[in-house]
Assembly symmetry: C2
Homo-oligomer: 423 residues x 2
Amino acid sequence: MARIVMKFGGTSMAGIERIRNVAGRVKAEVDAGNQVAVVVSAMAGETDRLVGFCKEAAPLADPREYDVVVASGEQVTSGLLAITLQAMGCPARSWLGWQLPIRTSDAHASARIAEIDTVALDKALASGEVAVIPGFQGMEEGGRVTTLGRGGSDTSAVAVAAAMRADRCDIYTDVDGVYTTDPRIVPKAKKLSHVTYEEMLELASVGAKVLQTRSVGLAMKEGVRVRVLSSFDNPASGNNDGTLIVSDEEIAKISKELNMESQLITGIAYDKNEAKITLTDVPDKPGAVSAIFGPLADANINVDMIIQNIAHNAGSTDVTFTVPGAELARSLDVLDKARGEIGYGALTHDTKVCKVSVVGVGMRSHAGVAATMFKALAERGINIQAISTSEIKVSVLIDADFTELAVRVLHTAYELDGEDQAG
Amino acid sequence: MARIVMKFGGTSMAGIERIRNVAGRVKAEVDAGNQVAVVVSAMAGETDRLVGFCKEAAPLADPREYDVVVASGEQVTSGLLAITLQAMGCPARSWLGWQLPIRTSDAHASARIAEIDTVALDKALASGEVAVIPGFQGMEEGGRVTTLGRGGSDTSAVAVAAAMRADRCDIYTDVDGVYTTDPRIVPKAKKLSHVTYEEMLELASVGAKVLQTRSVGLAMKEGVRVRVLSSFDNPASGNNDGTLIVSDEEIAKISKELNMESQLITGIAYDKNEAKITLTDVPDKPGAVSAIFGPLADANINVDMIIQNIAHNAGSTDVTFTVPGAELARSLDVLDKARGEIGYGALTHDTKVCKVSVVGVGMRSHAGVAATMFKALAERGINIQAISTSEIKVSVLIDADFTELAVRVLHTAYELDGEDQAG
C-alpha cells in the first residue's frame, strides 16, 4: 500500500466525459490498494472566464473578493469528481480549502501555503475514502478565501503530498513527461525517465512548460517525489510512466541499480520571453554598476544575464543585460528615471532575442561542456550575445531567428537525439 | 436610518452590466443613510448549468457533493457585487454561507435555515460596510456546504432580514409587483400596493410565481416586512414601489390611515399543474376513504381537492381528488398497489384540468363570495368539477381549456379590472 497524490489539470477536467476518465485512473490506484488524495484544477477556460468577470467589474478588483470568485472553479470540479467516483462505486468526498483547512498567507491572489491540517484527511484516507481537494485555493488566518496564483494547483498537490507524507505526487497533464527538449522543434527529442529537482527547475524556468516552477521548488524543499505523466494515454498500454522528478541521490541510486551511465546533459531549453537592454557610455568608475542594478532590484525586477563590454572610449563602457520581457517597459522607466545618477549615453533594447540553455547535473563533474556549446553554435554561424552559467546550466543569448537551429544543433552535439517521434 | 435587506434574482445578476445596475440601487440605499445587506442569486442560467453537470456525472448525485457544486454560482455573484460596489466607492465585502455562518439542517439540496450568526454581520453593518451574502447556501453542523433547494435565495433573504431585525426585506425581481391576476391573461390586472402574508401564500401556491412560497411562510412566522419590486424599472421614475407583503394588522392600519375601503377579493390565481384522479365503485363503507388517502399520505403525496360522488350503485361510490401533476405517476402507482385493500372498480386520471382560485382576506367577513363565483362561471357555461375552500380562498377545478376565460370572468365579476396595461 502506498499513499499517492494525483493531480489533474484543467484540460483533464474539461467536461464530465473527461472527469470520468480521471475517475477511472483514480479508481485504478484505489483498486491497487493505495490511499489516494486527488487535487483538481478548474475546467479548462473556467478560471479565465471568472478572471474576465472580475476585470470587467473593476480593473483593480479587491484581491480578497477576486479570490472568492476565482476559487469557485475548483470547487465545482471537486464536487463533480467526488460524484463521479461515487457513481463508480469508489467512496469519495470533496474537501474545500477552508474545510481541511489549507492555511495560507493573506497575500490574496498569490498566497503561499503555510500549513495543511491532515487530521480529517488522514481519517478519510484510512477509511478507504478518496479525498478530492480543489487546487489553487486555501484560507488565510482571518477565515477568508485565498488563491495561490495561476498554475497554483501543482503547488497545492505537492503541498498536500508533503503534508500527508505521500509516497508520490503524480501530476497528470496533457503531455506525457519531460523531454530532452521541445519535441515540436526536435522530433528526435527523448522523454526523460527521471530528472533532478534542480534540472527540472532550470528546464521549467527556461521554457519547458510542464510543471509550475514554484511546485518544483516546494517538492525539492519537502523531498516530495513528483511524477509528470499524461492523463490521455491509455494506461493499459504500459507506456505511461511519465518522468520522475526526484533528488540527486535517488537518481544516483536508480542509475546504479539500472547500471546506467550518468548523462552529461539532460536537456536543452529555450526562452523567448527575455528582453535585452543596453546602456552605452556608462562611466567606468566604482559604483556605476550598482547605480544601474540597485534601482532595478528596488523595483523587484529580476536581472538575468549581464555583460560589461570592453570600453571603446576611455573611461566609459557599455553594459548589457536581460530582464523578463514582461518587465521591459517597467525596466526602461526605472532606468530613464535613474539616468542622472547613472550617467549613461544611450538606452537601447531588443526583444528579438532568445536564451538557449543546456542543463544537466552531470556537468558538475565534467569540464568542457560550455566549450562544446560555443563550438557547435559557432560552426553554424550563430553569434552569442551574452553568456551565463550556473553549476548545472550554461545559457547563451542569441538572435531569436536562430532559436530552432540552435536547439537542434545542441541536441545533436550533446548526443541527445533518439528515435524520430514525428513518424 | 433603517436596516434593509435587498435581494436580487438571477436575471438581475446576469452579467457585469446588470450587476452594476444592482450596485447602483444598493449604493442609493446606503447614500440614503441605511444599513444594507444584499442577498444575491447566481447569474441566470448558471445554476441550471451546474445542476446539468451533476446530473451528467450521476443521475442520483450525492446531495452533499451536489451542494458543493451548485453553491458556487452564488459565490461568484457575491464576490462580483462586492467588487462592483467597491469600485463605486461603496465599502462592501462578501460573506459566504460558511463564513457568517448560516447554519442549516443537513437535508442537503433542500436544507432549512436553523440560525444565522449575526455577530460579524452586525459589526460590518455598523461600520458602514455593505454585507453581500450568497443566497441559497448555508452550512450544516458537520461543516459541509448545504443549499436550500431551487428558489431558496428568497428564503435566505427573509432569514437574513429576520436575523438582523431588518426594517424591510426588498425582493428585486423581473416583475414590478404582485398583480390581481396574471397580466398576460387579463391586461386590466392591477398591481397590488399591499397584500397579506396569507393572501400571498395562496396567490403564490396557486400560480402567481413572484416569490418562493417558503420565503413567504418564513416572513409570516418571523414578521418580516417584505416588498417585491422590479430591478429593471427606473428608480427615479418614482413608479417602483412594488407590492408590500405584511401582516393583516399592518394592512388594516394602512387602510385606516389612507381611509381605503377594504377589498373583498385581492386576486384571482390559477394553477394548471394539478392532476385529477377518480376511483370508481369504491365500497361505501367505513374505512374506505382512509384506505385511499392513508397510502398517499404515507408516500408524502399532497392531496388537494376531494369530492365523494353520490353513489350510483347501491353500496358503492366514486371518489375524485387532485394531486400535484408532478406526483401523478407516483400516485397512480400507490393506488394500484393498494387496490386490494381499497377494492375500487376503475382508476382514471385527467391532467387537462386547472384550479382557479379567488383569494382575499376580505371574504372572512363576507358571505356570498363563493355564490358570486359559481354564478359567474355558470353564466359562461364553465362546468365546475370540484370545489375546495379555506378561510381566505375559494378554488374550483375546471377543464383547462376554460382557464383564461374563467380568470377574465372572475376578474370582472369581483370588480378588479383597472386600466388596460396592454395599451
